[in-house]
Symmetry: C2
Subunit: 249 residues, 2 copies
């Protein structure tokens, strides 16, 4: 069944509305019509079976029939603080991170990030990444779309919802002692965690220290050196494996 993400403003009681290019896609490309059933994914992570009662190229309306128990979302909510990488690598990180199950992605400008975005360019990029996250959520059959924030400074990113996290980890090449494995086994809870991944040239000593001040713990993922776009994915996979979110215990 086809899956459509709807915002709270598109739902009222047992009624839903789909507009814009989603309506066009539903009508003209998928050729769905009155009486057809689709999956409605609401922004709170709930999913419903919905039956179409009106369809044209600009608007589709329908009735929620019942909630579907999907349990597709990880119990661990992961926020990735990703230092802006070179070229279009952020596209790949957003796409694969979404497939894996990231909850939120904050692109971070760091001292050794090659790319810098002004406010306008940052907004455009964010909008592109959010679209990639939406596409990847559909394809991975997730119940929610990870939120991609506009690029922030490291300090801003570390301050963002700071008190919500149970634990946080920074992957820093100078940390050779504590492994991610050890840190995860010791963490009191893996309910809501954040990860900071540096850029190609690594985080500076000052940046690492700043992250420690905001409660992040330095960890290593072993002796092989990962590229930045691989590091985020490997860390997220290991954490989801540990929390039982890569297939149950």
């Amino acid at each position: 069944m086809r899956r459509f993400f709807v915002s709270p403003t598109q739902m009222a009681e047992d009624h839903f509305v789909i507009t814009g290019k989603d309506a066009f896609h539903l009508h003209r490309v998928l050729r769905l019509g009155v009486g057809d059933v689709i999956i409605i994914a609401a922004q709170d992570g709930r999913t419903y079976r919905g039956r179409l009662v009106f369809v044209d190229s600009k608007r589709a309306e329908g009735k929620i029939e019942e909630e579907i128990e999907e349990k597709r979302e990880p119990q661990t909510k992961m926020t990735l603080l990703q230092a802006l990488p070179k070229g279009d690598k952020m596209d790949q990180i957003v796409r694969q991170g979404t497939e894996l199950g990231l909850y939120r992605i904050i692109p971070v400008g760091t001292e050794r990030s090659i790319v810098r975005y002004g406010e306008e360019k940052g907004r455009k990029k964010r909008s592109r990444w959010q679209k990639i996250a939406e596409e990847a959520s559909k394809q991975a059959k997730r119940s929610l779309i990870p939120q991609v924030k506009p690029p922030k400074s490291l300090k801003e990113a570390l301050l963002s919802d700071e008190n919500d996290f149970d634990a946080g980890f920074v992957f820093w090449e100078k940390e050779q002692t504590c492994s991610l494995w050890q840190a995860l086994k010791k963490a009191p809870s893996l309910g809501n965690i954040r990860l900071l991944i540096g850029p190609e040239g690594g985080l500076t000593e000052e940046e690492a220290k700043l992250s420690f001040e905001h409660g992040l713990q330095a960890v290593t993922m072993g002796p092989r050196i990962f590229r930045t776009e691989t590091a985020a994915l490997v860390a997220a996979a290991a954490i989801l494996y540990e929390s039982g979110d890569l297939g149950g215990f």
Copy 2:
């Protein structure tokens, strides 16, 4: 220090020889000369400190000074049987799989693989992937380069060194019961294992059954659907995490 991979024919007692484009690179690009020290990575996974005694653009020679205890290779030797994916996704799988620590990669032609390579094209592709693996090994500072085999049929791939493996897993969408987590906890040893990842359209029922006949166990990585290029990486990361190869216990 710069790292050069050498084959057994390039080493004799405490002497080593570097030729071809590596010699050119060493001499002309890195501008190394007599007396300079480099890291010699032998194909058995051992690494040495070597001092140059002769250098020109076609040939460099040197003396092994001592073995370096690097322990950069995972204890778990993983062989990836990867169904040929679309486009140039295999490049990404080889690159990231090498960073992670794969031991060997066998590209596999399956019923739903879109691309097909004849013998000549297969040889060319293999040579390209082997080069990508070499580059990625250098960058990840690995002690050995994963071997990329020429594309094989699934049957041939399953027969390849079949008796060497302690365990094998196939990621099959129809398996919803046994998680990778459960399978890894039950595996008697993670010394030498193999993974089979299907193409975009999935493995057929017959192909899955064929893999079971050759000792592979069907496992799931949870309710989110991974693209083929993400699946290999996530599976490898989870296994290395479990075996302690992503940073020690």
